[in-house]
Structures are given as structure tokens and as C-alpha cells.
């Protein structure tokens, strides 16, 4: 069977499984639409949470960022796992005890204010939509490769699938489907990693292979990679930083806080039977996430090594050292079709020179070889994981599997996020604020319309994504970090935090972060409206826009505390409510009222 047919078969089969499960477990009541019922075991829920969590950003984009940023990409690895520690210890058990469906519902009740609830809904929608834009980028890349079309067509196809898939399900369907998706995505991620690690180092476990010696015993895999990249003028892999040390610190913190503030993850902890289970669910979720996250560094490093060695086949500076364009491998041609990989023969020698022409010292040396600039004019980072098995010459079924895994990751997260958006509009805005008398049926209908609207909007922005999938997703984390997390945490740990403090805290936190992102990335990410330019020189203490959420969160905490000191403390019954959520005893099941 040729690759194309095989890919269709594998992807088609996995989709049939998801849709089958979604149909079998489809939601009939609002309760089932929002939370999956009480019967979900912590291990199963942890697995579903992991699938929900690991999106196109983790599956498709992250290893690519690691491949090109080396040590600097550690911010994603630590940031997207360390947040679970905060979630497990600072939020999950208490929110479970509180026992409601949605994050704005908690904020509205804890801060005895409809306004607070509405502000929370707005923050939640901003963060979630930005997140879905990142997913759309990933979905677009996966579909364009899968259907062998350009990126835009791939994106439209992806939007259609996401629509059919998430509008039908609801949480109950999503939980069971996500377990299936986790199995597929983790299998698809680790199998090629094991193969590649075996090829390069002879060690099957990628986590160990990354630290092992090359098969020929000459040197360790990481030392070899450091040598290969520095030989072509790139920065040393194992030490290159992202921006500055301060930027890496703040970036990591932003992703951690954002993890604990994203509604679609928090929602999952409403669905566990007991407070005790909320704690262990976070642990299990992180176990399942860690399997992928500790494999990713090996995938990134090995993909980079394979890519460099595919193009630079021999000694640097010798004519035959560079691959001839005519002899380029099939994967190279496939990715050229998508427009995500571009080659330009600058010196007209018919060979490919891939090096760092921004490094002046090396560029001078390259000039003496007759090289006229880097000829790989576009290597989209987001293609690395999908191209990786082809670059490593793995069998076709592995390649097909990776495409299916990437789609599973993107779909499971998009569905979870769309559900969070739908519930905040139908449950919090309509039922909670504007139309308290709405029937269950109409509430469900409104939720489905909200999902469709969100897909259309995210798809539109996905045509011109502000960054790589993982970068876009990082902005979403910044928004969640600056708004939702501080309000939740203070709601639990600071009994005296009051309505005015929380509202002004959220508003100032998210405003500061959004302004900073927009001034560097364009208003609503529209190219050309970025009045300060997306460049390091204009960054506040060298902190990149993607990393700014932690600063926003600090603003949120500060404003909230100052305002709460100047205004009346919360009423007695709210202080009792806070005391009550601090102990597990007496938790009922989650209710909508």
C-alpha cells in the first residue's frame, strides 16, 4: 500500500473510532454536556485530561521548537508540566469541593457578583479563542500534509472536522473519546521516537538515548549535535537560551500559572467523584503528560541532527558536502507542496546550503566557499514532528500513525476548549445572567451555536497565525495566567479578598498583557498594526510578548490586594464559604445551581 492510501486508512479508522464513541456517549442533558458524570476513575480521568491538555502545540509544534531552540525550549517543557503542581496543590481540590460546573460560576459566587462572573467569562473566552487559533495552525499543518494541499485548504478541511466532531459530543462524549485519543497520540509519538533513538544510539528508550553515545561510539548524541550545528554557524544546541535568562524565567512562570488558569483543564476537576480524587487525578494526568514531555527533547534533538545530516551530507566547505537539489528526498518534495518548506538556489550551484547566515563570522567563511546565503529560506518549525519519521526513513505505517496522532491531539484539545467556550456563553452568560429561565434544550442549542462561532473565528485568525502553534498557545496561557489564576487562588487562600479587588485585578491583569501582546504582535494579531514591532529591542526588560502573562499576573495580584484593602471586606457568609471549601468533608456532587 502506498503512503497516501495507508495514511487515509489509518486516519479514517481512528476517526471512525472517535465518532463512534462520541455518538455512543452523546450528551442528552446539560449536566452530561458540561461534566461527564461522577463515575470517571482518577486514572481514566487523568488520561482524558492528558489528551485534553496535550494539543497540537505539544504534539506537533513543541519538538520542532526544541529542535531549533535547544536548551532554550526548556521553558515549554517545564512550563507545561510544572503548572500541574500548582493546579493540584492550589486549586483543584478546593474547586472540586465547591462543586459547580464552570470557572466563572465559582468566581461569580465567591465574589458575590454578576459583574465578576461576566468579567471572568470575557477573560476565559479571550484565552480560549487564542488557544484555539494555535490549534488551528497545528490542524492546518497536519491536514495540508495529509491531503497534500497548501496550508489554507488544510485549515478549512480541519475546521470542518472540528465542527462536526465537537458540536455533537459534550463532556461525556469527550471524556471517553479523549481516552482513545490519548492512546493513539502517545503511541504515535513514542513509536517513531523509539525507532529513531535505536537508529542513532542503539538505546530504545528515547529519554536515555538522548544522553547516550552515538552508535559508532565516537561521542555522545548531544555532543555530536552541538558539533554539527556549530560547524554551520548555528548556536550550540545544549546551551542556547531563548531571549535572556530573565525571559526564560518569566516565560516558564507564565506557562505554569497559565496551565493552572485554563478553564478547559480546571473543568475536568469538577468531574471527579471526591476531593481526594481531584488531587490524584492531577498526578495521573501529569504521569500521562510526562511520557510525552520527556520523550519530546529526544524527538527534537534527533530530528535536528537528522535534518542537518540529510542536507549537509559531507564536510562543510567541500562542494560534494552539500546535498544536490535534484537528489532531495521525497519528504522534502512533499513539504514543498504545502509551502511550509522552501528552497532558493541563491548561488546557482544546484546544491542546498543550510547554515546560519546571521552569524557574521560564519557568513564570511561561507562566502569563501562560494555560498551566497542560507538557501533553506523557510523551514516551518511546526513540520518537524510530522516530517521526522520520513527524514529518519521509517516505514510508511509509522508516518501514517504520526499524522493520525497529530490530528488526535489537535482535535481533543480543540473540543475541550470549545466546550469551555460554549459553557461560558450558554451557562454563565445566558442562563446565569441574561436569561435565567432558559430551558435545558435551548441552553444546549446556544452552547452549540457558540462553538460554531468560535470555530469560525479561530479559523479566520488561523489563516494568519501570530506565531508557530506553540507560540500562539503560549499567548493564550499568558492571558489565562494574568486573569483567571489570581482570581481563583485569592478566592481560596485570601478570605478577605472582595468583589472590587477581584474585578479590578482581573481587568488590569488581562489588559496589561493584551496591550503588551498587541503592541508587538498587532491588534487582534492583524499584521501591520503592531505599532512597536515584534523585536527584542522594544521589549520590556527583554521579556517577549509570549512570556508576559506572569507580569500581568503580578499586576493582577497587586491591584486586587490594594483595592480590597480600600474597600469593604466580603460579607460574613462568603467568609464562611471560603472556610468550607478548605476542608474536603461534606462535598456533594457538582450541581448547576
Amino acid at each position: 500500500m502506498d503512503l497516501q492510501t495507508l495514511t487515509y486508512t489509518v486516519v479514517g479508522f481512528t476517526f471512525a473510532v472517535y465518532i463512534g464513541i462520541a455518538f455512543w456517549a452523546r450528551a442528552s442533558t446539560t449536566g452530561e454536556f458540561y461534566v461527564a458524570g461522577k463515575g470517571v476513575h482518577p486514572v481514566a480521568n487523568g488520561m482524558a485530561t492528558a489528551a485534553d491538555w496535550m494539543s497540537a502545540a505539544s504534539f506537533i509544534s513543541m519538538a520542532g521548537l526544541i529542535a531549533f531552540n535547544g536548551y532554550g525550549a526548556s521553558v515549554f517543557l517545564m512550563g507545561w508540566t510544572g503548572g500541574y503542581v500548582l493546579l493540584a496543590m492550589l486549586l483543584a481540590p478546593y474547586l472540586r469541593k465547591f462543586g459547580k460546573f464552570t470557572v466563572p460560576e465559582f468566581i461569580g459566587e465567591r465574589y458575590y457578583s454578576r459583574t465578576a462572573r461576566i468579567v471572568a467569562v470575557i477573560c476565559l473566552i479571550l484565552a480560549s479563542i487564542t488557544y484555539v487559533i494555535g490549534q488551528m495552525k497545528g490542524i492546518g499543518v497536519a491536514f495540508s500534509r495529509f491531503l497534500e494541499t497548501d496550508y489554507d485548504t488544510g485549515l478549512y478541511a480541519g475546521m470542518g472536522i472540528v465542527f462536526i466532531y465537537s458540536v455533537m459530543g459534550g463532556m461525556k462524549g469527550i471524556t471517553y473519546t479523549q481516552i482513545a485519543q490519548y492512546v493513539i497520540l502517545i503511541f504515535a509519538y513514542t513509536v517513531p521516537a523509539i525507532f529513531i533513538s535505536m537508529n542513532l544510539t542503539g538505546v530504545p528508550l528515547p529519554q536515555l538515548g538522548l544522553g547516550a553515545d552515538m552508535v559508532d561510539g565516537s561521542m555522545s548524541m548531544l555532543d555530536k549535535l552541538d558539533m554539527v550545528v556549530t560547524d554551520l554557524g548555528f548556536k550550540e544546541y545544549s546551551t542556547q537560551v531563548m531571549g535572556s535568562k530573565l525571559n526564560m524565567f518569566v516565560y516558564t512562570l507564565t506557562l505554569m500559572i497559565g496551565t493552572a488558569g485554563l478553564p478547559h483543564v480546571i473543568m475536568r476537576f469538577f468531574t471527579v467523584p471526591k476531593v481526594k480524587d481531584a488531587r490524584s487525578t492531577a498526578g495521573w494526568a501529569l504521569v500521562f503528560i510526562a511520557i510525552l514531555y520527556t520523550t519530546a527533547p529526544a524527538v527534537g534533538a534527533m530530528a535536528r541532527l537528522n535534518l542537518m545530516e540529510t542536507i549537509q551530507v559531507g564536510e562543510v566547505g567541500v562542494v560534494e558536502g552539500n546535498l544536490s537539489y535534484e537528489e532531495r528526498p521525497q519528504w522534502f518534495k512533499n513539504w514543498e507542496t504545502t509551502g511550509l518548506l522552501k528552497y532558493e538556489d541563491k548561488n546557482g550551484d544546484g546544491r542546498i546550503q543550510y547554515y546560519n547566515d546571521k552569524n557574521e563570522e560564519f557568513a564570511a567563511k561561507a562566502d569563501s566557499f562560494g555560498w551566497k546565503g542560507n538557501e533553506m529560506v523557510k523551514v516551518d518549525r511546526d513540520i518537524m514532528v510530522l516530517a521526522n519519521p520520513e527524514i529518519a526513513k521509517l516505514p510508511n505505517w509509522v508516518i501514517a500513525l504520526v499524522v493520525a496522532g497529530g490530528l488526535a491531539a489537535a482535535l481533543s484539545t480543540a473540543a475541550g476548549l470549545l466546550l469551555a467556550i460554549a459553557s461560558s456563553i450558554s451557562h454563565d452568560l445566558l442562563k446565569g445572567v441574561f436569561m435565567p429561565g432558559i430551558s435545558e434544550k435551548n441552553e444546549l442549542m446556544a452552547g452549540r451555536f457558540a462553538m460554531a462561532g468560535a470555530i469560525a473565528m479561530a479559523g479566520y485568525f488561523g489563516l494568519h497565525p501570530p506565531d508557530f502553534a506553540a507560540g500562539t498557545v503560549a499567548i493564550a496561557f499568558g492571558l489565562a495566567a494574568a486573569s483567571i489564576f489570581p482570581a481563583l487562588m485569592m478566592g481560596i487562600f485570601n478570605k478577605k479578598m472582595n468583589r472590587a479587588g477581584a474585578i479590578w485585578g482581573m481587568i488590569s491583569g488581562i489588559s496589561v498583557t493584551m496591550l503588551y501582546v498587541f503592541q508587538h504582535k498587532g491588534i487582534m494579531f492583524i499584521p501591520g498594526t503592531d505599532f512597536l514591532g515584534d523585536m527584542g529591542a522594544n521589549w520590556f526588560f527583554g521579556i517577549s510578548p509570549n512570556a508576559f502573562g506572569a507580569v500581568g499576573a503580578a499586576v493582577n495580584f497587586t491591584v486586587a490586594i490594594i483595592v480590597s484593602k480600600m474597600t469593604a471586606p466580603p460579607p460574613e457568609h462568603i467568609q464562611h464559604l471560603v472556610e468550607d471549601i478548605r476542608v474536603p468533608i461534606g462535598s456533594g456532587s457538582a450541581t448547576g445551581h
Partner: protein, 83 residues
């Protein structure tokens, strides 16, 4: 001090302790102290690099289960566990 207050205090100090470890392995070893640690090697890994891309993640997993185990014991000790 009432039992509830004592329980909450014990909870805060457990969480505080866990978060100190959380901070040291990631922000400490993985970012601030990465250069000195990189002089030590762990197999083919530089140690600082290993903490940033592997070690911190393993520690996070351990921390959550440790916290869950200790909290469950606290719940029982102060008799605030669910049935």
C-alpha cells in the same frame, strides 16, 4: 486554635514545602544555576540541561503524588475526610 485552623495550617506548610522543591528543580537548577551544573555530566547529559528537560518533570510527578498521600493522611488525622 481550632481543629480547622490547625488543619489549614498543616496544609499550608505542606504545600509551601512542596513548592520550594518545585521552584528549586525548575527555576533553580533548570534556569538560574544551569551553567555551573552543566559542568557536571550525567551520562551524556549536562546536568543543568538534564534538569531543564528531564529531571524537573520527574520531580513534578513525584511531588503531586507525595502531596496527595500526605493530604489524605492529614484529612484522616483531623477527621475532615469524606466518607
Amino acid at each position: 486554635m481550632s481543629d480547622r485552623e490547625a488543619y489549614w495550617k498543616a496544609n499550608i506548610s505542606l504545600v509551601g514545602g512542596c513548592l520550594v522543591v518545585w521552584f528549586i528543580v525548575s527555576f533553580g537548577f533548570g534556569i538560574m544555576l544551569v551553567e555551573p551544573l552543566n559542568n557536571i555530566s550525567l551520562g551524556g547529559y549536562k546536568l543543568g540541561f538534564w534538569f531543564a528537560q528531564q529531571g524537573s518533570i520527574y520531580t513534578f510527578v513525584f511531588l503531586i503524588f507525595f502531596y496527595a498521600w500526605r493530604m489524605n493522611k492529614l484529612d484522616k488525622k483531623f477527621n475532615v475526610h469524606e466518607d
